[in-house]
Amino acid sequence: MRLPFATGFTAEAARFQWRLLAVLALVVLMTAAAVLWLARRNIAQEEEHRRETEFQVGLALLRSAQANRHAMLVERCRTLATKSRIQAALEDGGVDLLYLSARDELRDLLDNPAEPVVKGRRMARFYRFLDASGRLIEPEPGVAAGVLAPGEAGKLSLSALPDEPKIGYLLLSLAGQGEALHEVVVVPIISNTDGRKLAALVLGFVPLRLESAPGAAVFANGIWLDGRLHLQTTGTVNSGSLSRQLRPWLETEALNGGRLRISAPDGTWLVFAQRIETGAPFAPAYEVCAFPLGEMLERQRVLGWRVIVAGAVVMLLGLALSYFLSFRLSAPVEQLAHDSHEQRERRAEAEAALETTSAELGRAARFSANASHQLKTPVAVLRAGLEMLQARGTLDEIEAHEVEVLIHQTYRISSVIEDLLLLSRLDAGQLRLNFTAVSLSELVAAVLDDLSALPADHEITVEQDYPPDLRIAGEKRYTALILQNLLENARKYNRPAGRIRVAARTNGKEVFLTVGNTALRPIPPDAREHIFERFHRGGLGENIPGYGLGLNLARELARIHHGDLRLDRSDAEWTEFIVVFRVAESETPTS
């Protein structure tokens, strides 16, 4: 990936800021719109629900009043049916005396124009009897049964008498008055001897109207009959315009009750309608109630403004916040872009350095290996020449001793060259181990055997303490070399008549081999860090042969065996090294 230029970050960050700003503004706008919509809907629903409840409560009260009135009228008619004179009038051919006979019984049902209406007890404006076939029985002159305009009474006749009280609505005009809607209740008079419908009593009432509860909204209500709304409230609403708008609704979908919102010149109305259970002979009628929605619309309007203002404030705050946020959010992004650029540069540098180092290391190792090889031949030639000189036997004693020393020195040079060659192979990572299971006891025995061949200056005791069947994973040559180096050191840096102790223990996965000896003197603490470095002799090897490669080689070899070599103890009494090997897999055969 191409690294962006420094100016690129700023442009990208600015774009990010603008995008963030736009998203935040959009969110604020949409939230405000949603709040406005929900609030308006909520107000409308709440209003409609409240009005519907009022309407239903009013209707329930009205129905209950009607039911009470029906019960009262049924009881009245039952009493009438038991009266001898009523029976006589109906059964004995005395129909012309019927109204006279019933006058006293029904007097209190009639509205008395002279008396004010008792509150809550709406009286009938007229009553009439129908005979058994449903025809009207005209009242006798002089009997007060409510005076209907001429020709109006015929509207009361029915084709058949109902079995139970029925309610209906009729447009009737009373004498001297205009046409008005009347609630008509028909109650059959049942014979108490043979259950026959003897006659029926018909009463005309001013329709019961919905009463608004105290504190409830003022509404207009009326009865819908024959395609016209007959309002029972005056002055609040234009009946004609309401009727026109209600007609299609009432005549189609609202037959089972429902609600409608209509806009009339005098405002918006919420209209409820419910069918009134009229009896079969009467035309269907609906109780209609219209609530003005002006107040609700005003509330919605005020709320709309509030939400818009609040939305604007929130928008401004949001803009400020989004600017701040985008700044805060984009800063780390910018930083991140910058950082990653720097990081890439640094890594590239490091990689380049590593490559150089690796190349140099490889070159050094190759050089070391080549140098060692090139040295081996001249040393061999030198030794061969010296040995030939020695074998000639022409040298005197002093010369012979010198040649002896020179030959010994060539061995030392060879040994150093071998070690250097091994180390350079280790450094170049060219040493490949052939892991086998090496028996520790055999290994120690072989190394000790080699060491015993060396000239022993002092009588040194070797103690051994390890399980006899312990096997370690490694290549025998190199593990022997490690142990050989350690034991050689233990012998060289020992006291006269001192001790060497070789011990091993295992935890099942690793083998801890310790090689300790009685100390000539302790390794100084500041030298302990350096004893594993090449050509370092810890400041104590002035008169002890060695060239400071042994411990370093031993540690490198231990490490390529996936183990380690550490100085475990060094004080005036005792020096002890510890080598860690891995335990050999049990099934691996002994090499």
Binding site: R85, Q87, G94
Partner: protein
Amino acid sequence: MKNSPVSVLLLTCCLLLSGGFANAATIEGRVALPPASAATVVNKRYEIVSTGGVVATNPPLAVVYLEGEFSTPAEIPAVRVEQKDLLFVPQLLAVRVGARVEFPNLDDTFHNIFSYSPAKRFDLGRYRADEKPVPAVIFDAPGLVVLRCDIHEHMRGVILVLATPHFVVTDEAGNFRLTGLPPGNYKLKAWLNSRTTLERTVELKEQSVLRLDLP
């Protein structure tokens, strides 16, 4: 044959009335009465029932009478319909047009007898047993008069006003016997209830006994 005291009285009455005719004829027979209503009347008092607007007695009785032209007597003896134990006794009475019927109250409570029947409308008002003279009504037009008491709604009685002196109330089996009848051609009628009256044309010969069942 088992006659009620009322019918015995009426028969006697008829026999007395027709006693002047030496060549009088007799009709006897039986009217097929409708079955009695399910509710049997234990104390034998007849009850006036109105079923579907039809007034009849229960158990059913019929009034058999001879229709024709008969001379009007100067005076017709008065008959009584008592009010006893909140009932009219008898509950079915046949009288000749112009007859005067007295309505004594034999109960120790008020009664108020009235009738809305077109044949005779009257209202005797409330009175008690000690009312003197005994309230009476003269039935001057033929027809059916249903008696009621304004105070006791169940009380009902029937007076059948007839334009003939020859009539008799059958027994519960429908048997009747009309005696002292002048010879001639007549219509024999049997009133069963306010809707049903059976009739048959008869020719009566001197001192004959006509055996006739209706219908």
